[in-house]
Structure formats: C-alpha cells, structure tokens
Symmetry: C2
Amino acid sequence: MPDAENRAPTIKEVADHAGVALSSVSRVVNDHPDVSASMRRKVLASIESVGYEPNLLASSLRRGSTMTIGFLISDISNPLFASIANGASRVLDSTGYAMVLTSSGSDAAKDEEMIRLLRWRRVDGLIVTVADEERPGTIAELGRLDVPVVLVDREIAGLPDASVVRTDHATGMRAATTHLIREGHTRIALITSATNVRPTRDRLAGFRAAFSAAGVAPPEDLIRLGSFSATYGESCTTELMHLADRPTALVAGGNLVLEGVLRGLYDLGLRIGEDVALVSCDDTPITQFHSPPITTIARDTERTGEVAAKLLLGLIDESTTGPQIEGLPTRLLVRGSTQSRHVPAARA
Amino acid sequence: MPDAENRAPTIKEVADHAGVALSSVSRVVNDHPDVSASMRRKVLASIESVGYEPNLLASSLRRGSTMTIGFLISDISNPLFASIANGASRVLDSTGYAMVLTSSGSDAAKDEEMIRLLRWRRVDGLIVTVADEERPGTIAELGRLDVPVVLVDREIAGLPDASVVRTDHATGMRAATTHLIREGHTRIALITSATNVRPTRDRLAGFRAAFSAAGVAPPEDLIRLGSFSATYGESCTTELMHLADRPTALVAGGNLVLEGVLRGLYDLGLRIGEDVALVSCDDTPITQFHSPPITTIARDTERTGEVAAKLLLGLIDESTTGPQIEGLPTRLLVRGSTQSRHVPAARA
DNA sequence: TTGTAAGCGTTATCAT
DNA sequence: ATGATAACGCTTACAA
C-alpha cells in the first residue's frame, strides 16, 4: 500500500526492500535487457509493496531530456488555436511527450518571456505561433534555443533551422475573391490583422492576385489591416459601410473578425447575402449555421497541430535531416452569403 | 555572448569566471538578502558574459517544487473548455506557474493514465475535469496524489480534500424550463450526457424541479442521457421528432449537442422558434448569431478557470485552510428561439 | 547479470 | 558576507 507517511519512496527504498542495488531497480524500471527474470520479479514486488513511483524530474535531469514540449500560442480561447493544440496534443502524448501550453494573449512582449521560461524549463522542443514575426526580442529568444522549433503559420527569416507548417491561405483567398468578382463585385473590402504575421500577408497577396488576374485594380481603399479581434471587425465594418462608395462585399480575415463584422452589419440593419456579400476565413459553427450560411475559406486546423507535432518529433529524434516545410491546403466553400440573386448597385 | 559550444553553462562556469563559490552565484540568482553589492555586480557580469541560464529542472529537484500545475480536461478543442483553460492559464502564469495541459479526449481510461503521469512529473497541483466521476481507477489515482486538487464542475465523494468550482447549472435549467412551460410547452425534450458528471445531474434536477413547481409531471419519455457529442445530439433529435407525440421544445445540454440538434432539425426541415422551440446551454457565437437567436443558459467559463486556479494557489501556499467550494451562477438569456407567437399544438 | 560510484545542476546547511 | 559540502532521485559507465 502507498504509505501516507513522510515522503515519497525512491528507488533506494525499493532497493533496500528487495535487498538489491539501486542500479538494478533502475534497470528494471527502464526495462534494460540485462535483467534476470528473478531479479525483475523481486524488484517489481518491492516496487508494489513500498508504493514506489518514479520521479520524472530526477530522471530528466540525469538523462538530459524532459519528454516535454512547449506550445506557445497567442490565444487558447480561440477555438481555432485550441483545435491546433488538440491535434498536436494527440500525437505528442501518444509518444509519451507532455505539452506545456502557454498563451501570450496576443501580447508580443509576453511571447519573449514565455519562450525564455520554456527554455529554462528545458523543454525538448517548441511549437510556436508568435504574435509578431518581426519583433527582434522574440527572434533573439528563439535563436538562443538549442532544441528544435516548429513554426505554425509563421515565417521568421532569422530562424533558418526551424521547421514550418504553412497553410496556403493565399490560394483560398484568391479563390474567394475571384468568386466575388465573378458574382459582379468590385468594391470588396478586406478586414484582417496587420501584416506582421504570414497568414495576413498571404491572404493579402491572394486578394490582390485575384484582382490582377481579372484585370481590375484592387480596391486598396477598402483594405483594413489592424488586428484579428472582434472589436476591430466591428469598427471597420461600421466605418466601411458608412463610406460614400461603400463596399458591396466584405471579407473577414478570421473567426473573431467575423463576429465583429456580423455585429456591425446587424446594427446597421444590413442583410447578409442581400445588401452585402460576406466571406470569412475558417469554417466554424457560425459560418455553417448562420442564415444564410457564410461562404468560407476552410482549412484543417486539427491536422495543422498534428503535422506540427510530427515535424517536431522528427527533428527531435533526428529522423529528419534538416528543417522541413509542410504545406497545408485551404479550400473555398461557397454558400448563401455570396449568392444573392441581385448584386446591389454601388452608390455614386 | 551565449556560446555555441558544447553544453549550456551552469553556475559552476559562472562561479569560475567570477572567481567566487557556487553558493554565492546561487544566492545572487535567487536574490538572497546576504549578498554584498560588489558580489552581486561581479556575479551578474559573469552571468552575462558566460551566457548562463538557470536550469529549472535542477532547481525543482532540489527545492521539491516544480512551479507547474497539471490541467486535465476532457476536450481542449471544445471552446468552452479552452476558455476555462485560458482563464486558469492567465492567473497561473501571472504567479510564475506553468501549466501542463493534457486532454483525455473524453476517454475515462485516459484520465487515469494522465493523472498518474502528472503525478510522476511532480506537478505542484492539479485542476481536473474528469470524464467520469464514478470510475474507481480515476478516483484511486487522484487519491494517491499528495498535492492539492481542484475539481471543475465535478463532484467526487471519495476525494474530501479537493476544492471544487461548482457552476449552478440547476438554477439556469430550472429557469429555462419554467420559461418554456410558461410559453405553453409541456412536451419538452432534454438531450444531454450520462449522469456520471455533475452538470448533467444538476441540469436534470433543475429540469424536473421546474415541472414539479408548475404542478406538471416531467416528460420522462423525452429525456435522453447519452453524451455531450454532436452526433448524439443529432441522432436524438431525429429520433425524438419522429415520435408520434413529439416534443414541441428541445433543450440541448451542451454546445456540441446543440450543433447536432441544429443539424437534425435542419435535415427535417423544421423551423426553430416556429415549428419547435429550442434552448441551449452556454452562450457561444452560434446561439448569438443564429436566426432566430437561441435562448441560452449562460455562464462565465473564463471566470471558472480563474476561480479554479485561485483556489488551487490558495491550497498550495496554504493561505486557505481546508477544501473550498466556490459556486458560480448561470443565467437565462431569453431569445427568439423560444418566443414563437404560436405554440404548435401537440399532435395526438 | 549485478553492484559500485560518479555525475546531472541546483539549493541549503554549516562553518568561517 | 562568503565558501565548502551534502543532499535532491535518478542513470550509466565501469568493475566484478
């Protein structure tokens, strides 16, 4: 029975109880090949009766590996990120790794701090989605790392050794924009974050590419590059829809932005799919169950996490040679929010 | 500069470089009161120039505290849980604690395994939402713990020392059911998980209490106690709405269940708020942006996480005496999904 | 196959 | 105020 006394029993107690050496206990616990059946039985019995449990802290210190990976994300409460974490978590703990999850709350200064702390905790690897790819402090902290790093949907020039999971946001955004143009729109607004993260640069490129391909100048006056938040989505929507030459279609560059856009549109009494077309990124319950359903640029976030974890494990056990880049697709789901029968005439 | 050579510098390297003893370096690092200004300066300079970084592993082993807490949750990808984790994470890392997040994927067997692993990792405390309160293995693993535990929305009789965050699901459900009864419904269906977790028992009690108070027998034939999943929500909805004496109102006992219910209703071509009234638990974007918006039993999940973390910290630093129970309210948000002008007549 | 002993990088106790 | 030194619990050469 597990004693309720002083402190947790160690291999020493087990060794004493079994009348063998410390090292023998250790060998049994780590099932080393060179242990006799009788030794194994004796030790196992003693482990049981003294109620021994391994101290992973001590073994990590000695072995030089913590079997822990750090996961740095800007916002766990965002279902998209949660889903990435979930995907990663599943493959990690199937291989015995634990995940230390830290969230910067989209605060770039906190990114640095968290990375440093994870390094001090001696994690065996890191999966990160930093809030700002260009922040020198963050890059420096990542550079000090001597364990593998996987960047999720981020791109950092000063970090040549990191593997990357790169979602192809450009293609999805280009398809969506092309779709809107074909539906007769040219006054298309894009509301998304600043360009200090790859997805935004990617989407912006896709957005403009669609216009170029159609031989139309992109409506630069309708592009809003601020943040991924709902409040930003709402205020931009309000502002845009009060423009004299207001947009006939809106593209929300993220699930939180979408919530703000919807709020803004509702407040103005504008009907989606009738008064204004709407496209969003990431297929969430809202986009599916809204009426009309919202046309969406979808991707597989769960898989994103899985791939990130697998890349990291490959780097850790050195089964992969150098840094890898893994691409993941986006696809356009056309739904009612962009299929109004009559495109509203742009006001003069 | 941080050397790119063999292995990370330790306090020994710092001590050698500064020409002082190991213990002096340690004292500076932990800013012990008894260090002269000159010593501090010397050591700090050496730390800088050899590029020393503390090894939290070693210090944890020695100190007997890891400054890490374990967080066990059934499903990170569920935004509700993610939000709880986020709340906890915020208060924890403001006090220097890191969070090891593990998800059982609603698999009760995995709960046990994860708890054991967290114990082996010597976490300083645990916040858990187990998948099954009654599973003996889980209770046993929790019992072996000699660090504090906080249960979130769970109740385990065999664990008298644990603090508990208990959301008052009963009151919210009772209010919702009463509201439906007042709207003229009696054929009200409830779709939720099995009763092996507290929220479900709580909601069930509230549901029945509303009927008792109204002097009506609760429709026991319309209660479905299976799981919190979307697929369960969908299959129950389909089954229920094919009943001869089918329900005129549906209560979804969770955000995932709601998604299934919506799918089921859409497939049958039933209009929410017209053909059938609908109530859900937890105020998510879907419930807000659905048309009509869905009447919801809301709670503050972010706060749930915060409170859990605070309770745990109180237990860890022994600022609180014994196990605490912290109650959190639910409130009913009445919206369009339960306000149809005409209540459909129950078919004979 | 088993035992002995030297670390892993800290912190804390004890002298000085 | 500072310096030796013994833990913390484990793994791993190396010896037997």
